[in-house]
């Protein structure tokens, strides 16, 4: 097997590393490997860009036709895989270098984070419905346990809630997969796509609905996202960064990917997805206005951004989709930054409630400054990358003469500004920080800021020089939207 | 040299006309009220008496400079008003100015004096200044709008050009644009600080007004400039509405006729409070002015 050209590694390597965790524990290599494995994959992914530019990579491990593992690495999935590896690398670095709590060190988080990476990579790479379900469960299970890691009441509650709602989602999706298999006898996505049109319309609708609800819950779309704030509030901020930065993006991608492949008629899908996206955006931004806990606020803001990405992806135009991919990248960076800052502030001020953070900028000026950068990034203000991606999406809508999404996005951004700037103002309030702030906290090692500063630098870079990513995201959009190309590359025939 | 002589002549003429007109005013009012009244020269005597006082009380340097500014302002204003048309004399520097400038210059002096009033530390003086500024705010809007109608009519802001365009009684703006004259008449009276809009200085009662702290020679300066300003304003209205004057006698005659008209109006009405003044100006003259604008601009 040729080493560098296989997408399998994105799944196999973290899986292997996770399963041999006892070995690494003994050799005291957990931290290094948690950082190293995704880093290696990141380098591998970056190296694959020229290859994938030529043609998508396919990897099929046949078990018994039509059952088998199909991995399909095209520009879109490669972009996301790169992003995921990068996100995990950064979080790992943060956990490694910072004054991390003990429950986030050791074997359990090591295994779970790597499994989460496996799940995320698998979700975007797989070309097979059943595999998709398997990866969905891998990602799900590791996420449930990760959110309960801290072993206290809110964490356990979050884990339990996540488990319940996640299982319900998986159930919906599994039902859809079963129905598809019964109707078509196919599980390969491309094959299903080809034969989906032959299914009776009512059944088509039912399958689509089941998938939409299942993946809608997972990818946090309104009205299926009511669980999100509780789970994000209960989990550790560093873990939440991965949920928001990695997991949701994977599910979003899957949802849109399936929509493109299966619903041959984009007009119908457009109505559904754009409606859901718009609702998610506006409801989440409004609800965030009154949140007094930073994690909840960030959760709602994350929902809002997901809605925005959905809105743009659901429009199925190449420009908005490219913008949406770009925004995914930016949003991952921003949310990593914000959640990691939240982790720092939590350690420093022992609380993330609004009133306890008043004047926090005095005790941790750098963290507060980074929060400002993150807030500006998430609001899409120049010179950060978020502005360019937002502009890209808006420009896509303007190009197509669609005015309502523009108005909606800008209105939502204004509301978003309403609460982010409230937080900034509180952080910089001219009052002495709460008494708890200075007691019994270990000073943060400077190295813990390194990944955060790296993110901030990248955000700035992407804002100043968005052309760096232009080819990748445009190709990704092309790969995602061009159904025939996918079918052709998988099955060798065009529909 | 010519300009200097000319300016001196204008100042002298203004001064002489000033005390005579105001002396007449006192006589006129006295007769209306069935008194004998003072002699027509009385204002000259009063003024000289003030100016020759041997001792003056001041409240700091700004208090001293205020009357100097107001006097300088009065002189500047009158030098920018052409007294005669088609003549080399009594022109001052009016070719370098225009109507809007004159309207603004009318205010420069009083504002400078307001600094002196403030610097005296007497709240009654400042109260007077505030009243004066309030009245100014009321009168200036219709006054300026009325003048704007004239400026619009002749498409110029130059007093010379407006004067030159009224070559004959039929072309007087009083005849061709009567609404504008009606609009500016009452604000003009107020700008002369005459009854019924004279609450600012509140003469006769316990004194509470801009001049409350001034005495001696400073009061003399204030009185001098007041007499000159009265004449300058009269001449300005003569220039704008009565076709200006070709010689000094005509000027005096026209100015006196106008003065008689305003004095008669002043004598007939009781004094208004400051707010009443403003409200009145914003209702009656301004309403008339709006009517004039509608007639002049929208309908024609």
């Amino acid at each position: 097997m040729e080493f560098s050209a296989s997408p399998v590694w994105f799944i196999a390597l973290p899986l292997l590393a996770a399963f041999s965790a006892p070995l690494w524990t003994r050799w005291h290599l957990l931290d290094h490997l948690l950082f190293g494995v995704p880093l290696v994959l990141l380098i591998l992914a970056l190296g694959l860009f020229p290859t994938v530019h030529e043609a998508p990579l396919l990897e099929t491990i046949v078990i018994a036709p039509p059952l088998g593992i199909h991995l399909h690495l095209d520009s879109a999935s490669l972009l996301l895989v790169t992003l995921f590896c990068f996100a995990v690398t950064l979080v790992a670095a943060f956990l490694w270098l910072g004054a991390t709590d003990s429950h986030l060190r050791g074997r359990r988080p090591f295994v779970l984070i790597l499994l989460l990476l496996v799940g995320g990579n698998g979700l975007v790479l797989t070309g097979d419905l059943f595999n998709l379900y398997v990866f969905l469960e891998i990602a799900g299970v590791s996420a449930y346990v990760l959110s309960a890691l801290r072993d206290d009441r809110p964490a356990l509650e979050a884990g339990l809630k996540y488990l319940i709602i996640g299982s319900v989602a998986a159930l919906f999706f599994l039902l859809a997969v079963v129905l598809v298999y019964l109707q078509t006898g196919q599980l390969n996505l491309a094959a299903v796509a080809r034969e989906f049109a032959a299914i009776p319309p009512a059944m088509q609708g039912l399958i689509a609905l089941l998938m939409l609800i299942g993946l809608g819950i997972k990818s946090e779309l309104f009205p299926f996202n009511f669980w999100v704030p509780d789970v994000y509030r209960g989990s550790d901020p560093a873990v939440t960064a991965l949920f928001s930065g990695l997991l949701v993006k994977a599910f979003l991608f899957v949802l849109v990917h399936l929509a493109v492949l299966i619903w041959a008629d984009p007009a119908v899908a457009r109505v559904w997805l754009m409606t859901l996206g718009a609702l998610t955006l506006i409801v989440a931004e409004l609800a965030a206005l009154r949140q007094d806990d930073m994690r909840r606020m960030l959760a709602y803001s994350s929902l809002g951004q997901i809605g925005l990405i959905m809105l743009a992806l659901g429009f199925f135009s190449e420009t908005t989709t490219a913008g949406a991919f770009f925004h995914m990248i930016n949003h991952t960076l921003v949310k990593l930054l914000l959640f990691l800052v939240a982790a720092l502030l939590l350690r420093r001020c022992l609380s993330l409630r609004l009133e306890d953070l008043a004047g926090a900028a005095r005790v941790s000026p750098l963290a507060a400054g980074l929060f400002v950068v993150g807030a500006l990034g998430v609001l899409g203000l120049p010179p950060f990358g978020g502005f360019m991606s937002k502009l890209w999406m808006l420009q896509g809508f303007a190009e197509a003469q669609r005015i309502w999404p523009i108005a909606l996005i800008l209105f939502a951004a204004l509301i978003e500004a309403g609460y982010y700037f409230r937080w900034i103002r509180v952080l910089y309030a001219p009052v002495a920080p709460a008494a708890s702030a200075d007691t019994k906290t270990t000073p943060e090692p400077w190295a813990a800021y390194a990944p955060l500063l790296l993110i901030a630098g990248l955000m700035l870079l992407l804002g100043v020089a968005p052309f760096l990513l232009e080819t990748s995201v445009v190709e990704a959009a092309h790969a995602l939207l061009d159904r025939d190309l996918t079918l052709q590359s998988v099955l060798g025939v065009a529909q | 040299m010519h300009v200097l002589l000319d300016s001196l002549a204008m100042i002298a003429l203004c001064y002489v006309m000033g005390f005579l007109f105001q002396g007449f005013y006192r006589q006129f009012n006295a007769r209306l009220q069935r008194r004998w009244g003072p002699s027509i020269w009385q204002n000259l005597y009063d003024n000289m008496k003030f100016l020759l006082k041997s001792e003056t009380l001041i409240h700091g340097p700004m208090f001293f400079f205020g009357p100097m500014i107001i006097a300088a302002g009065a002189i500047t204003t009158l030098l920018f008003v052409p007294f005669l048309k088609d003549s080399d004399w009594l022109q001052g520097v009016s070719t370098h100015g225009n109507l809007i400038l004159i309207i603004y210059l009318l205010v420069v002096g009083p504002l400078g004096n307001a600094l002196a009033v403030g610097s005296s530390g007497n709240p009654f003086g400042v109260m007077g200044v505030t009243r004066g500024l309030t009245r100014l705010m009321g009168l200036e809007v219709p006054f300026f709008l009325g003048l704007a109608l004239v400026m619009l009519q002749h498409e110029t802001t130059s007093v010379h050009a407006i004067m030159a365009a009224q070559d004959g009684i039929a072309h007087w703006n009083l005849i061709t644009n009567p609404i504008a004259f009606a609009v500016i008449l009452l604000p003009f009276i107020a700008s002369q600080n005459a009854s019924p809009f004279d609450v600012v200085g509140a003469p006769v009662e316990v004194y509470a007004g801009p001049r409350v702290e001034f005495g001696g020679r400073l009061l003399g300066v204030l009185m001098t400039q007041n007499m000159m300003m009265t004449i300058a304003k009269l001449v300005l209205v003569v220039d704008l509405f009565l076709g200006g004057a070709s010689n000094v006698l005509e000027l005096i005659a026209k100015a006196f006729a106008l003065f008689l008209l305003t004095t008669a109006i002043s004598a007939a009405f009781p004094r208004l409070k400051t707010e009443q003044t403003v409200d009145f100006f914003w209702k009656v003259p301004l309403g008339l002015a709006v009517l004039g604008v509608v007639l002049n601009v929208w309908l024609i």
Partner: protein
């Protein structure tokens, strides 16, 4: 180290001047994505506003550099300068917007460095400004959808609806920035609460960016504003609406200014009013009026910088910022007194300072357009302005000292005095030479805007087709008269004696003491409420609307947030419910609907 930092900061503050001098005709392009690029070039319109920056920033930076260096503030100030220069140099909307946003957030972060900012003030500032920015973004996206390009160029082929959409969206964006009513509330809050020196930047420089936008607006339409909906009387009909917005803003803001008790709030409202004139003049759109607008922009920048820097010095020395807490500083801070004196003469538009030249041009422009009712409104506002101008000088400098600090204050440090002297000098020079400003500063801008230049026969003369005046003659006559009168007064016989005590007053027959409330500063203008129109204006504010809007939004937020506070059963139930309802609908419809 500190010294180096300060020098560096001062050097940064000179960058606008440097840009202005060295940019020349070059263009700079920076690629973004999808074939878009940022284009930077320096036209005369941008050069004019850059000139304002170049004048203003070093003068504010000098007092800012005093004391222990505030690194964050220096950094943010540098960013602010970067943003403003970017937006001025931008040849396309993208660069304009990027600069605009950088300016917005960096100014916000500078604003909240003051200990006096409240949450309400900060939120109002940022939300109004972001609303302005997003309207700008929306406008430029509509522009893009009409032309397929972000370059700032006339909309030649757009439909009437498209043009109006661009006009209204961009117009609103820029009007918020200049604080037109009723979108002004962020200005009194922001200017008041900002760090004292930063208020000078806000009022003097940042607000001018809105004017830049408004001046840019007519260039987007062929035949300027008249291209939108024809002409009314002798001006563009679309501009008539804009002009009324400006005039009403000027009138209402002037009365609001009169009723303020706080110096900086008064200056904030006066700033709104002054920019209201400019909006009116831009609405008129003729060469005279726009020339007046540009002139007024220049004068307002100088005046507001002067006043805010001076009052920053007073606040620094006394710690007091309300009219009734100051008083009689004329002896203790004579320099500040002269600065404010020159400032208010400029603010009131009195001759011989250049404020009059600007007003003259605007008035003549209105007469020329035959929009006389607007002229009346402007006249009302500019005479009412005398009252607050008088308060500005009476409250702090005249009357009686009303607080212990006011009794012991001394002149502000030299770093405050230098900018004051420079600005006073500039104002006086411009007053003497209005023709110079017309020839050198105003005319190039007018030519870029496609208007006929006004021209000036000599530097001292302001000439229009409606007549003009000579600044040199005016200044000579006034100065000469003043000198002669004063000299005569001195030469005449008689002596002068200074009053023995400040209470030696003619006070209705009584003898006031130190306890008698003699300072009229607080009450000044209170009786104006009895005038019906003014009483009505002062009794109404938009604070209630804003509070109501906030309350409703928060109520909606609470309602929606309530949805999220449930247990997993409900969530699951909801998912199933959606499935059932949707599939029933599907079944009824027989497929996709």
């Amino acid at each position: 180290m500190n010294l180096i930092l300060k020098l560096l900061f001062l050097a940064v503050s000179l960058t606008p001047a440097l840009t202005l001098l060295t940019w020349g005709d070059g263009t700079l392009a920076w690629p973004l994505f999808g074939g878009f690029e940022l284009l930077f070039e320096l036209g005369p319109l941008s050069a004019f506003f850059l000139l304002l920056l170049a004048l203003g920033t070093p003068l504010v930076a000098l007092p800012m550099a005093r004391g222990t260096p505030d690194r964050a503030a220096y950094g943010l100030f540098a960013l602010l300068l970067l943003g403003m220069q970017m937006l001025l140099l931008a040849g396309d909307f993208l660069g304009l917007f990027i600069g605009w946003e950088v300016m917005t957030w960096s100014s916000y972060l500078l604003l909240i460095r003051s200990t006096r900012t409240t949450l309400e003030g900060a939120q109002t500032y940022i939300l109004f400004n972001l609303a302005s920015a997003f309207l700008l973004l929306a406008g430029m996206l509509v522009f893009y959808s009409l032309t397929g390009d972000f370059r700032i160029a006339p909309l030649t082929e757009a439909s009437a609806a498209g043009r109006w959409a661009v006009f209204i969206l961009l117009g609103l964006a820029f009007l918020i920035k200049v604080g037109a009513l009723p979108l002004h509330r962020w200005i009194p809050l922001g200017y008041d609460q900002a760090p004292d020196l930063f208020s000078a930047v806000l009022a003097g420089l940042i607000s001018k960016m809105g004017l830049y936008g408004l001046l840019l607006l007519p260039t987007l339409f062929p035949d300027a504003l008249a291209g939108l909906s024809g002409r009314l009387l002798n001006g563009p009909a679309a501009g008539y609406g804009l002009a009324w917005i400006g005039a009403i803003t000027a009138v209402v803001a002037t009365f609001k200014a009169i009723s303020q008790q706080d110096i900086k709030r008064l200056l904030a409202y006066s700033s709104i009013a002054q920019l209201g004139y400019v909006v009116t003049a831009i609405g008129v759109g003729s060469s005279l009026a726009v020339g007046g607008a540009i002139f007024q922009t220049l004068v307002h920048t100088l005046v507001k910088l002067l006043l805010f820097i001076t009052f920053a010095g007073i606040v620094l020395q006394t710690g007091q910022r309300r009219f009734n807490d100051l008083g009689h500083l004329i002896d203790r801070m004579p320099m500040a007194f002269f600065a404010v004196l020159i400032g208010i003469i400029g603010l009131a538009g009195m001759p011989p300072l250049p404020g009059f030249a600007a007003k003259y041009l605007m008035f003549v422009g209105l007469i020329d357009a035959r929009w006389l009712l607007l002229l009346a409104a402007m006249m009302l506002s500019s005479t009412a302005a005398f009252i607050y101008c008088y308060r500005l000088i009476y409250g702090p400098f005249l009357g009686h000292a009303n607080s212990p600090e006011a009794r012991t204050a001394t002149e502000a440090p030299w770093s405050y005095l230098v900018p004051q002297v420079v600005l006073m000098g500039l104002l006086v020079l411009l007053g003497i030479f209005p023709g110079f400003a017309i020839e050198v500063i105003v005319d190039p801008v007018l030519m870029t805007l496609g208007l006929t230049p006004i021209g000036a026969p000599s530097w001292g003369e302001l000439a229009t087709p409606y007549g003009g005046y000579d600044g040199v003659v005016l200044m000579t006559v006034f100065g000469g008269a003043f000198v002669i009168v004063t000299a005569l007064f001195w030469l005449a016989r008689g002596q002068m004696r200074r009053a023995g005590s400040p209470y030696d007053l003619s006070f209705a027959g009584e003898v006031p003491t130190a306890d008698t409330p003699l300072h009229y500063g607080a009450g000044m203008g209170r009786e104006l409420r009895r005038i019906p129109l003014i009483g009505w204006i002062l009794a109404h504010t938009t604070a209630g609307v804003q509070a109501g809007l906030t309350r409703q939004t928060l109520a909606a937020a609470g309602l929606l947030g309530g949805l999220y506070r449930r247990d997993p059963q409900t969530w699951t139930l909801l998912a199933v419910l959606v499935l059932v309802v949707a599939s029933t609908l599907l079944a009824l419809n027989g497929g996709w609907f």
